[in-house]
Assembly symmetry: C2
Homo-oligomer: 286 residues x 2
């Protein structure tokens, strides 16, 4: 399965960790780097501040990728035990190294299929899924499979973006069309870049109850320069730029239109521009 | 000037007040009515909970309309003194009656032009503007005029919606096109239905400093039935339906497409639907 967008949104979430590991060397001045760290922390807080698991609880992180969220989970719930699965052994190796380097010992990693998690029914107190459902052809089936390994009364937490939630000033038809290419390409490989808005029906439909959805908007204007740089430019716009080749190859949009769209996204980073994007965090109980 | 949308968004904000005045008689059962009151309070809290003025402060409410916000202001800051202006004597009469009926004595009303407020420079400690700039051909000039009557160090608070912030599940091209008709029609009469996202550059450009913008998203799903009814249906969809005649007369959209758009907005009110809309609240200092 091709992977549009996951890297993009995760880039920023990973940023702080990577910088702390001295691996982020894109030439920022130390003052800029510090602001980026602060704002990456802002985004981490926005998404994760209210995810805390009790001492001794068993938590399944489904689709841990390279461990960007795992580090935050392990930090915030040091006495919970995390079992992290992913379909990619390469990602798992990176995740394990990242968590080890950060000094956490409460996470284990194993290759597994999210549709068939190799655990007995009721094995976990909690399940955590972040930036994963958007890439799955059948998120409802994944949620049902995850529900099966959750004990009765256990909770699921799901975080997803929604690329259709992006709006900005100055408004631009071309920027919207370029974003539309990303959404269409992700749909063509079985994903759904608009899944954030669907979390309520997805969790309810999978049999979870007490489903509560909490939108988390990233709002960017010139008074938040590190979000301009780190989110609007390096995360969102870079992600849209990433589909240029495929979008043009398939004739989804003309090259001048695509370039104008990218140009207009950068335009929102000027002092009089603004940019909005919404993540959705949902919780439910078995 | 024609007025698209103001009535719509204000409908819901007015709802609680009107119901308390026993003037809202659309046939709800008392249980439904109670939920609507609760949720109208939710929206009032969302927008206004952090607007409080100190005892003795002089506050200008510019564009008070029928007094929907005035009642909340007077309630929350009982020892501040409000001067409320509007261009419509009919609205002012209704606002005055509303505030009197609610038992508040700390607001006075007078007809005035927002571009030329008839007050000496520095007359006010604070200025409050809600759902007004979206209707003005020159919001920047209005902000400059309001800044002039503010004392140095005084604050301005601006609240506006943004119809382009609406997104929903199931997604629908027709619904977006119907909303687009409302946006275009409002633009044709000199307004801007996408003004929420522009508050930062507008306030900064008018010379205010310490400008802080706070987005306030109304998120609606089946777990919030009174918002489904009171916001998605009776406020937003009703507002879009309100431009049917004009949009069709001008050939902006075909009748079947418009009807499909409205139908698709109602579709988001089904148990598996969701709806998102963002208001923007901005503050700045002179």
């Amino acid at each position: 399965m091709e992977d549009y967008g996951k890297g993009g949104i995760q880039t920023f979430v990973c940023l702080k960790i990577s910088m702390h590991n001295n691996r982020y060397v894109h030439g920022y001045s130390s003052r800029e780097a510090e602001r980026l760290i602060d704002q990456a922390q802002t985004l981490t807080d926005l998404l994760h501040h209210d995810t805390r698991y009790p001492s001794g609880s068993r938590v399944l992180e489904a689709g841990c990728g390279v461990g960007a969220q795992t580090v935050t989970l392990a930090l915030q719930s040091p006495d919970a035990m995390f079992t992290c699965i992913d379909c990619s052994v390469e990602s798992l190796a990176e995740a394990e190294a990242r968590v080890k380097k950060a000094g956490y010992k409460n996470a284990t990693f194993q290759k597994a299929d999210i549709y068939n998690p190799p655990f007995a029914p009721g094995s976990f107190d909690h399940v955590f899924v972040c930036f994963v459902l958007e890439h799955l052809p059948d998120p409802a089936r994944a949620l049902a499979s995850l529900r099966a390994v959750l004990k009765p009364g256990g909770t699921i937490t799901v975080i997803e973006g929604d690329h259709g939630s992006a709006f900005f000033h100055p408004d631009s038809r071309y920027a919207k069309e370029a974003i539309g290419c990303l959404v269409t390409l992700q749909r063509e490989v079985g994903g759904n870049a608009l899944i954030g808005r669907e979390l309520f029906p997805l969790l309810s439909g999978a049999g979870f109850f007490e489903v509560v959805v909490s939108p988390r908007m990233v709002y960017v204007d010139a008074s938040r320069p590190a979000l301009v740089e780190g989110f609007t430019k390096q995360t969102f716009t870079a992600m849209v730029e990433g589909v240029r080749k495929k979008a043009l190859q398939r004739g989804m949009i003309s090259e001048p239109e695509f370039e104008q769209g990218i140009c207009d996204l950068y335009r929102t980073c000027e002092p009089d521009g603004t940019f909005c994007y919404t993540f959705f965090k949902a919780t439910g109980r078995k």
